[in-house]
């Protein structure tokens, strides 16, 4: 073949013909399938966030009314007398109820009057926020409009949402009790699951002989990580409540149950982190006459620590968002006050969200969404912490 014809043949081969164009189109299509899938996922995510935030954001504001309150002696026995009959229905009963207690604590208030901002009834709140189904009677609607013109009605920051426990009156319901419960349960889970899980992983990875028995354990641990979480609830009920006599609904029962669920996750993550430590580091230590314990404690564990922490945090974050096993150990309870001990009846954030979502009063809807927002914020910060630790662990040796 001459040089010229060789060059021509090459040119022909490089030219895009039908087959090559089809190949290029297939490439393009594949790229678009991927982009479509990604777009769809993004769409759902955006929809979810927009929905939750638009529903939940109003809950961070709460209606208040400026009224004349008279703390007369007779109010002690009948708190309804504290405000003018005209406005009584506009004011939250949960606030009115506290007046006798306030007077009990501060006797010097008796006989005084004050014009003050007080918590409004949830119907007023919903009406002001323009929600349908506010159920505020026509005559009160008019009154609220009138008060609004006089500047005696306002939407203020809802501090009660963070400082109150659950309540049957939506305007008074808050997440404090469940948030404290979540913290308690999570601390207990961490206290039990992390040491036990890390020690188990260290034994299996660094000390255990490789035999049938340890293989059986390994398979079982991997399976446990994939078991439906509600089964852990049944296990917790059987072991901790029925057998060990831990009080039902208590943070201890919930924490131990979630610890069971978190254990396999921590064990698997820790083993992976230990395995990622190069064998040469162990050899170096053994070669210098370090014992097994010294090798693990001084060299392997510090190197595996970021991985262990990451795995533990992800496990704990999962435990924090868990609801199903806690249903079984009785943590889906009405808890108006923050628990004062690990044996007291407790609820947790996801359980609180679930409870509110089942309430018939519409005003609970925005509180449900707000609860989800708080839960998401906590979980996202936990995951961000885990990612930071993972990035820090990407060192070379």
């Amino acid at each position: 073949m001459s040089d010229a014809s060789k060059s021509n043949a090459l040119r022909a081969d490089l030219r895009a013909d039908k087959r090559k164009r089809r190949r290029a189109r297939a490439d393009m299509r594949f790229k678009w399938y991927g982009l479509t899938a990604l777009g769809l996922a993004m769409l759902f995510l955006v929809f979810f966030f927009v929905d939750i935030i638009s529903k939940g954001l109003p809950a961070f504001q709460q209606a208040e009314i400026l009224v004349q309150v008279s703390y007369s002696e007779s109010v002690k026995s009948n708190y309804n007398r504290a405000v003018d009959k005209r406005y009584r229905k506009l004011i939250s009963r949960s606030w009115l109820r506290t007046i006798p207690m306030q007077l009990e604590e501060h006797p010097d208030m008796i006989g005084t009057t004050a014009e003050q901002w007080v918590l409004a009834d949830y119907r007023v709140d919903q009406f002001l926020k323009g929600h349908e189904g506010h159920k505020l009677k026509k005559k009160y609607q008019k009154l609220v409009r009138q008060l609004q013109e006089e500047g005696k009605v306002r939407l203020a920051f809802n501090s009660g949402f963070f400082s109150n426990g659950d309540s049957k009156l939506p305007e008074n319901a808050g997440i404090l009790a469940s948030a404290v419960g979540s913290v308690l349960v999570l601390l207990l889970t961490m206290l039990f699951a992390v040491p036990v899980g890390v020690m188990t992983a260290i034994y299996l990875e660094e000390f255990a002989p490789d035999n049938r028995f340890t293989q059986l354990i390994e398979v079982n641990i991997n399976n446990l990580a994939a078991i439906p979480s509600i089964l852990y609830g049944l296990l917790g009920l059987a072991i901790f409540i029925n057998f060990m006599g831990v009080p039902r609904s208590s943070a201890l029962a919930g924490g131990l149950t979630l610890a069971l669920m978190t254990l396999p996750i921590i064990i698997i993550a820790t083993r992976a982190a230990l395995r990622a430590v190069p064998e040469s580091i162990r050899e170096a230590a053994y070669g210098l006459g370090a014992s097994s314990l010294q090798t693990v404690w001084h060299h392997v564990l510090p190197l595996a620590m970021p991985g262990i922490l990451t795995g533990s945090i992800i496990g704990l974050a999962q435990a924090m968002g868990e609801t199903a096993p806690l249903l079984i150990v009785g943590m889906m309870a009405y808890i108006p006050e923050a628990p004062h001990s690990i044996l007291a009846a407790t609820t947790v954030l996801p359980a609180q969200v679930y409870t509110w979502s089942g309430e018939s009063i519409r005003a609970f809807e925005e509180r449900t969404a707000a609860g989800i927002m708080v839960l998401l914020a906590v979980l996202l910060s936990l995951n961000a912490l885990a990612i930071r630790l993972r990035n820090r662990s990407e060192q070379t040796w």
Binding site: D210, S280, I281, A284, L288, G289, H298, T396
Partner: protein, 256 residues
């Protein structure tokens, strides 16, 4: 062999199994004190396995079984009452890939003396660290950056740091498992020079794939093939007048 030469290690009838596989078929070998002994042979011949028998690093491998005697100055290191951890302070090891701890240069050296309670932290430890680094001919390069991570050094420096780390425990024997295979020729030359100095104080056993290295750096050479010791003798004799045909074939590059 001259009579004034002393055996540091005496190996008799050493057999080793990985599970059912017999990797070493009864090795008899005397390793002389104050000399550099090189183990050569094709890959998989058992020379590294044999080296690891000498400080019982093979104990860590599941299913590994050893028979026969390894005597360190007459003491059987496989005797039931021997503490393996203590044994390794007498027979140190340098590995194929430089493996400094991801800690400071100072800590790399000070770690082992500290865990063995040899000296207290403070001026004594500083002195020990300096001595070890000097003996490993790396002091001048690192004296100003002792607190920097050992992993930041170059490959050759890392390997000399590892040698210094081994020296710090003051062992009798230093085992080196292909210590230069990950290094460039200049770093390799430095390590070989270092071995020549170190043999004044220590007995050195080195596994190498590099014929020239064995010829240059060692006093005695042992040729292994398929789990057998084929030939053992003075390096000059092995490389110039091997008595075994297989040794000659390997050394001259006809196979292996």
């Amino acid at each position: 062999m001259a009579t004034d030469m002393k055996n540091k290690l005496t190996i008799r009838g050493l057999k080793l199994w990985y599970g059912d596989f017999e990797a070493l078929h009864g090795i008899d070998l005397d390793i002389l004190a104050g000399k550099v002994t090189a183990f050569i042979g094709p890959s998989g011949c058992g020379k590294s396995t044999f080296l690891r028998c000498l400080n019982r690093m093979n104990d860590r491998i599941a299913g590994c079984r050893v028979e026969g005697d390894v005597l360190l100055e007459g003491n059987d290191i496989y005797a039931p009452d021997v503490d393996v951890v203590q044994l390794r302070t007498h027979i140190g090891m340098v590995f194929q890939k430089p493996n400094p701890f991801p800690k400071s240069i100072y800590e790399n050296i000070a770690y082992a003396p500290r865990i063995h309670g040899m000296v207290q932290d403070g001026p004594d430890m500083d002195e020990l660290v300096e001595t070890a680094l000097r003996k490993a001919s790396i002091w001048d390069e690192v004296k100003d950056k002792l607190q920097q991570p050992g992993t930041a050094l170059s490959g050759g420096q890392q390997q000399r740091l590892c040698i210094a780390r081994t020296i710090a425990v003051q062992p009798d024997v230093i085992l080196m498992d292909e210590p230069c295979s990950a290094l460039d020729p200049i770093a390799t030359a430095k390590i070989e020079e270092l071995m020549d100095e170190l043999k004044q104080e220590y007995t050195i056993v080195i596994v190498t794939h590099n014929m020239q290295q064995a010829a240059r750096a060692s006093d005695y050479t042992a040729y292994f093939y398929l789990g057998d010791l084929i030939e053992y003798g003075e390096t000059s004799q092995i490389f110039t007048a091997p008595s075994n045909q297989r040794t000659e074939d390997y050394i001259t590059g006809r196979f292996g």
